[in-house]
Symmetry: C3
Subunit: 303 residues, 3 copies
């Protein structure tokens, strides 16, 4: 039983496939025209977001609304956080309003975990610092499952700023738990110094080696907004050394898929014309995300 969803470490294969089943049920209902459900009618979903976001916040908000919940946005920039309130007090306050779900994004690693332990509300981690983004990992896994028919045994490469990426951390854990063979591909400066905690098949700084023969290639966003200015001088270099172009696509398996959590820096991680190309499932990830979030709400409600 899960009260909260903070880390993909909370999932085992059973739990993942239970969420996947809920996902399929919701998607089928929706496609059959049941676009307004009542699974969360009478429940409140509070969304304190301390970092800017479009896709994650909108996805959780819309998923909640489709399920009939009352959703309330709380952005770091217009809230009493500006008055110096601590995260703990903000969340205790939301709980006191009888919040059923708290979907939190925070720039501090571990924020969601701290919060979850302190409140009775169900807490969903929508991204905490460089730590985890578990709903992204679930939607990534489901996208792969739907596109490739399986996860077990697939060769998956994750390219980019592994060091700073919560998506990478969550993806590596979940996909390897589900049987994928993970390769990490990044410049040395973007690889974690201590690699032991990661169950990976291979690590390489060579993009050609990284992509060769893979079923799935996940490109990570270069967090331009988090980097200092020094980094920018080498952005073009990054693109040349690690950016996806047509030649590099050809290194992948013929039926490989290309993923990115978005938003893409066009021309940096992926050449612009490939962003929504034949192999890309980037928009499928977004669509999958909507039904995945519906499934996560429902799972926490019933689990």
């Amino acid at each position: 039983m899960l009260k909260d969803f903070i880390s993909v470490s909370q999932l085992n294969e059973d739990r993942f496939f239970q969420i996947y089943q809920l996902y399929k049920d919701f998607k089928e209902k929706y496609n059959n025209g049941d676009k307004k459900l009542s699974d969360l009618r009478g429940y409140s979903v509070l969304l304190p977001f301390f970092e800017n976001s479009t896709r994650t916040r909108t996805s959780f908000e819309l998923a909640g609304k489709i399920l009939g919940a009352d959703t309330i946005n709380i952005s770091g920039s217009t809230s009493s956080v500006k008055k110096g309130e601590t995260l703990y007090d903000t969340i205790k306050t939301l709980e006191a309003m009888r919040s059923d779900f708290i979907v939190i994004r925070h720039y501090m690693s571990g924020a969601a975990h701290i919060v979850a332990n302190k409140v009775k509300s169900r807490v969903i981690n929508a991204g905490d610092g460089m730590h985890e983004h578990p709903s992204q990992a679930v939607l990534d896994a489901i996208t792969i499952l739907e596109k490739k028919g399986k996860i077990e045994g697939l060769k998956v490469v994750i390219v980019g700023d592994i060091l700073h990426s919560r998506v990478a951390r969550s993806d590596i854990k979940l996909l390897s738990m589900l049987g994928a063979k993970i390769t990490l591909c990044a410049p040395q400066t973007m690889l974690p110094r201590h690699l032991e905690p990661f169950e990976v098949e291979d690590i390489t700084t060579d993009i050609n080696e990284g992509l060769k023969g893979k079923d799935v290639a996940i490109f990570l966003r270069i967090q331009l907004e988090r980097q200092n200015k020094v980094f920018f001088s080498t952005l073009n270099e990054y693109s040349i050394k690690y950016g996806l172009n047509q030649e590099r696509v050809n290194l992948l398996k013929e039926d490989a898929i290309i993923m990115h959590p978005g938003p893409v820096n066009r021309g940096v991680e992926i050449q612009s014309e490939l962003v929504y190309g034949d192999r890309s499932v980037i928009l499928d990830q977004v669509e999958t995300g909507l039904f995945t979030r519906m499934a996560i709400y429902k799972y926490l409600l019933t689990a």
Copy 2:
């Protein structure tokens, strides 16, 4: 059949009167106490607004909610646009979340058109740069129709910064299509250099000549926030030369109406005590706007 509503050029007389009929139906229902309808139940309305707005955003949001839609605000200042995402990618992402309607305001002329051609979602232009603001034109036309009983043959003067005004562009096209005789009145610097595309009766830089004998006077907002500082030194001069005062009201026909898309710069375009005076229908425009937006949603749904 219309998927999107981007420009008043998409309307002909038939289409306008179909929307007007829907407007009247919704207004009647609402006035009879049917204040929560289900025409858009199960539909999502996403509102990416890249410029600040109160009346247009609130009007579209409330209209959607009254019709039972799930509405989601996305403001330029808290979205991933801050992360450098392109407009195209933002919108493709919203579409991937199965958005039924995308109501977009953008500072770039042509933004809504570009977006509409790329997505399956119905797109409504809530203002794009200096190009168009079609729902404003429809509500303006309906306001005139309700107040004057007709549009055909009416003498309408539009006063102010025609050059930069999307409201002017949309109003001129729609009202002239509906048979109004348009006069433009502005200082030379605020008139478009190429006037051919505008079907207007008359153009004048003289406010007295502009107002004389008109049935309808539409005052445009001086976009203080878009002007550079140099302009401000002549604000008082603008007010003296083109601002509406009681003396100038007397030049209009006795039963003339005074309009403004809001927000009014009191004492600039219109002398403060005249803003909600006898002739002013400025608040009627706002009220008409609510039911007009309901009608536009419904029209795109059924057309």
Copy 3:
């Protein structure tokens, strides 16, 4: 009969207890699982907030949603207020959209009163400058009533920046009307110069005298964000002289309760470990706030 709720001066004992009865009804329903009601179905609640807020805005928004209203946020930072629109015009515009309720927070004392007199919509003051915060006073009174069983005859001390506090003004009026004996405790510089309008039992600059033998201690927030830098140098001094610590708790009656409208500046008004200590009812205030706002909506609807 009340159209608006602007000041606790509008309440007498009867009215307060009518609101309290509605509060109890809603809380009971909610606790019995009726978490989605329809008292406000078909009503719109517009929330123009010109100051940052989490608890008050979220509380009013959620209360409205639970009652079935359509709620719309309008923040000072993304609205046309940025375009220089006057408060009066903003509110007339919201009224023209047929708003049923306008819940307004504004930095200007008297803002809500001015607004209420100009519109047909029901107006609720969610805090106006240094003037009043009446829903806070009602929830404070109800919290005391629930925790102490009565208000009449209780000894209540209000500690802190009385001079700038709208919460203090509303609390003093309401609690003294309901029979509490009020003591004010603050440094001389934070006391109003003219104390006649306040019906208080005692005024003191000595915290020990202020707390001694009291049933209820209400600590006010030091408005760091409103103070100039000069004040900050004495923040530690304020904490030493007026901050609540365990030793000072012991001066209160044994069964006394400790209140704060939040957000607390931990270590300034209240020592950190006491914020949610045994005597603290700070989170009860937040919970009470939710049902109090539901009751206020309902009261204005039926009164």
